[in-house]
């Protein structure tokens, strides 16, 4: 290795920077999706509706046309058409509610997202510089394979920056021309998503480069076997993440505000953020299965490495984390029911439902063995039989049981939401009248979500084993090996806390110091 980094080593330094970049970028890309949607919902009911919708329809149609032209197979074109139809149907079905709170939610979140965008750019630049030093040969390889893509990506960064700042700074001046402002927002989302898809192409290429990447075209390398799965998973996860971050911000403001009039608004904002987070979280396991299936079909040994070998214990922790997310979100919903007049009469269902979810979570995280991989022996003094599940009970450790448990958790979450809807339909919501522990739950959930993102990101990268590009370029640096779960957890924890520190700074500078000025 030509250059190393003292104290923590080159791999850990790059790990931390790339993870921070991903977290900021996820927020900066995920939050605008519902920021723009919120702005749309806030527009007066029925007033100049078509002047708002028509530009959006044109933008979606143009994007779909470009997508169809870029795709190679009929199936891919059908997927693009279906996605466009889905977006159009959303545009036609969702009508503005004329609630001014959505406008405030959109504005306040965008204020934080704009600063997060700057942090994403800074951490991305640092990550790229850092990669060029210790991993110079590998950087050269990527530049050779994706030179034109990096050029387009650079151009898109400029375009996206212009759009982000135009969208933010034109909020007041375009207050009377909402159609134009929302259209700028939609274009900003589309460009941001295109940027993410391009880099997903590079990232997924490193794991599934195909049989002969040297002979493939640049598009062939981007459109590699796991690109679609990764795109789908990250797109949904970004919205989930954005929702939870909005909830974090709302809880932070709810707990710290001195203005009693603000409290109902931040209570409502936290509820909306959590609702978006949980709503999209429910479909994430399905997106995860689609991605995993692509990896399995590409090379079954990757799946074995993930689920049965060195990364199996990482997936036990993943089960713990996703379970905590669902339990936290459901607990928050039960707290929300209590702020509805007469909602207390539904509380009898709370403990049985949460208990059933805990049981499902335990089934999910029960491993087939506590051994960390396929070759490690049981530690001295421990009988191997005591840490390996018996053959007759092995079904608890199999995918079928896990999938059923996850499905159960999702169904119970849906049931909780149905009970909430029922409570709301029979009583008035008293925004602001919620127990403080509900706000603390909205802080707990993002802590788990950020840690989960860091862990899952590590799993995806470590799936390459000792290869920079799987089966193409071997990692010959001193850090070629798969780190332990312990080391990975320290890196994930560190990323989570550094990110939290930066987000606290963003909230403080935007809404405390900024407001005082």
């Amino acid at each position: 290795m030509a250059v190393d980094i003292d104290v923590i080593g080159a791999r850990s330094a790059i790990w931390l920077l790339s993870q921070l970049h991903l977290l900021f970028a996820s927020f900066a890309l995920g939050a605008p999706i519902f920021i723009v949607l919120s702005e749309y919902l806030a527009t007066p009911r029925g007033v100049r509706n078509w002047r708002i919708r028509l530009p959006l329809v044109v933008v979606v149609a143009v994007a779909a046309l470009l997508g169809i032209m870029a795709m190679h197979t009929t199936v891919e074109r059908i997927v693009v058409v279906m996605a466009a139809l889905l977006l159009l149907s959303v545009l036609f079905l969702i009508t503005p509610v004329g609630d001014h709170r959505y406008e405030r939610l959109a504005r306040e979140t965008m204020k934080a997202a704009t600063i997060a965008y700057s942090f994403a750019a800074i951490s991305g630049g640092l990550f790229a510089f850092m990669l060029m030093g210790p991993y110079g040969d590998f950087s050269d390889h990527l530049a050779g394979q994706f030179g034109s893509i990096f050029a387009i990506y650079g151009l898109l960064i400029v375009v996206e920056s212009v759009l982000v700042y135009t969208y933010w700074y034109s909020w007041r001046s375009l207050a009377e021309r909402k159609g134009l402002h929302i259209t700028i927002g939609v274009v900003m989302i589309l460009v941001g998503t295109a940027m993410m898809f391009l880099m997903n192409g590079v990232g997924s290429y490193m794991l599934t480069p195909g049989d002969s990447p040297e002979a493939a075209s640049v598009w062939g390398r981007i459109n590699n076997p796991s690109w679609t799965g990764l795109n789908l998973h990250r797109f949904i996860a970004n919205i989930t993440f954005g929702g939870f971050m909005v909830a974090l911000f709302a809880a932070f403001m709810h707990l710290t505000t001195k203005n009693e009039e603000d409290r109902p608004f931040y209570d409502w904002m936290g509820y909306i953020g959590n609702f978006i987070g949980v709503g999209t979280l429910m479909v994430l396991p399905l997106a995860g299965y689609i991605y995993a299936k692509e990896l399995f079909e590409y090379d079954a040994t990757i799946s074995t490495f993930l689920m049965a070998d060195k990364l199996s214990s990482f997936f036990v922790m993943q089960g713990v984390l996703v379970s905590l997310l669902f339990l936290g979100a459901n607990y928050y919903m039960w707290q929300s029911i209590q702020r509805v007049e007469g909602g207390a009469r539904f509380l009898g269902y709370m403990r049985p439902i949460l208990t059933a979810m805990v049981v499902a979570a335990v089934i999910w995280i029960t491993p087939q063995t506590f051994l960390p991989d396929l070759t490690t022996d049981a530690p001295a003094g421990i009988d191997p039989a005591s840490i390996i599940i018996t053959e007759r009970l092995a079904f608890i450790g199999l995918m079928m049981a896990k999938a059923l448990a996850v499905t159960g958790i999702i169904i119970f979450t849906f049931l909780t939401y149905m009970i909430y809807r029922r409570a709301v339909s029979t009583g008035t919501i008293r925004w602001g009248h919620i127990a403080p522990q509900a706000q603390y739950t909205l802080i707990f959930i993002p802590a788990v979500a950020v840690y989960l993102m860091a862990l899952m990101g590590a799993i995806r990268e470590l799936a390459r084993q000792d290869w920079h590009v799987y089966l193409q370029i071997r990692d010959t640096t001193p850090y070629w090996f798969t780190p332990t779960l312990g080391h990975t957890s320290v890196m994930a924890g560190l990323s989570t806390l550094v990110f939290f520190a930066f987000m606290t700074f963003i909230f403080w500078i935007s809404f405390k110091l900024g407001r005082a000025d």
């Binding site: 009988d383 599940i389 802590a447 090996f481 779960l485």
Partner: protein, 226 residues
């Protein structure tokens, strides 16, 4: 001071209040947790070993941790509104604590899990391996064959166990020698025309990943397994 009778009544009321409180606790999450812990530690070990239904001690500890954590969670959800700290500093500290504590617990839990060894730098220059030793090295490290194939019970179960391969490789495909069968199967993977019954056709082709020497070493190692 009350009369002895009144004191007796007072003590009796206190006792009955205490018992009522204990009774309420036992009817709640604490009671259920205790019952479940009793099942894990008293009933599980009674299961005859040949039924295959007995969880090992590692799982008993795991389930106990889950029961305690689950019980605490269910007890927590029944709590009424808690009090928020009064000072700004207290509120900020509580926010930081709620964010940092779960992260710290997750890091601690991950480090408590059994870990595999990571390789240490070693000077292996000048060491010459025999073909069988080189094949064994390929199987257990570089190629990661063990992820799907086991030897003597160690390794994955997605693909056939390699134990005793030398005795059956020559009988798999008519008119194909054991060496050719093993070599071609490694090179072609799932494209090889024969798949062992009962297993999915998922083996990647390793032909382009192996030099001629390493391929022969791996074949020699696999055919040395009895």
């Amino acid at each position: 001071m009350g009369t002895p009778n009144e004191e007796e009544h007072g003590t009796g009321r206190m006792n009955s209040g205490l018992w009522q409180r204990v009774g309420r606790l036992l009817r709640g999450p604490l009671g259920y947790s205790l019952v479940l812990l009793a099942i894990v530690w008293l009933v599980f070990p009674l299961m005859p070993e040949d039924t295959g239904l007995r969880f090992g001690e590692g799982y008993q500890v795991f389930f106990s941790v889950m029961i305690v954590a689950g019980g605490l969670f269910i007890a927590l959800v029944g709590l009424g509104p808690i009090r928020k700290p009064r000072s700004d500093l207290g509120i900020l500290a509580s926010i930081v604590l709620v964010f940092v504590a779960p992260v710290a617990l997750l890091v601690a839990a991950s480090n408590a899990y059994l870990q595999y060894d990571v390789p240490k730098a070693q000077d292996d220059s000048g060491v010459v391996l025999t073909p069988v030793e080189r094949g064994e090295e390929l199987f257990w490290t570089e190629l990661g064959c063990f992820a799907c194939h086991a030897i003597d019970g160690r390794g994955g179960t997605r693909a056939p166990d390699m134990t005793g391969l030398s005795t059956r490789a020559g009988t798999r495909v008519a008119n194909v020698s054991a060496e050719d069968y093993v070599r071609d199967h490694i090179v072609q993977g799932k494209d090889y025309p024969f798949t062992v019954p009962g297993y999915a056709d998922i083996m990647p082709p390793f032909g382009e990943r192996l030099s001629d020497e390493d391929l022969e070493a791996l074949v020699e190692f696999l055919l040395s397994l009895e």
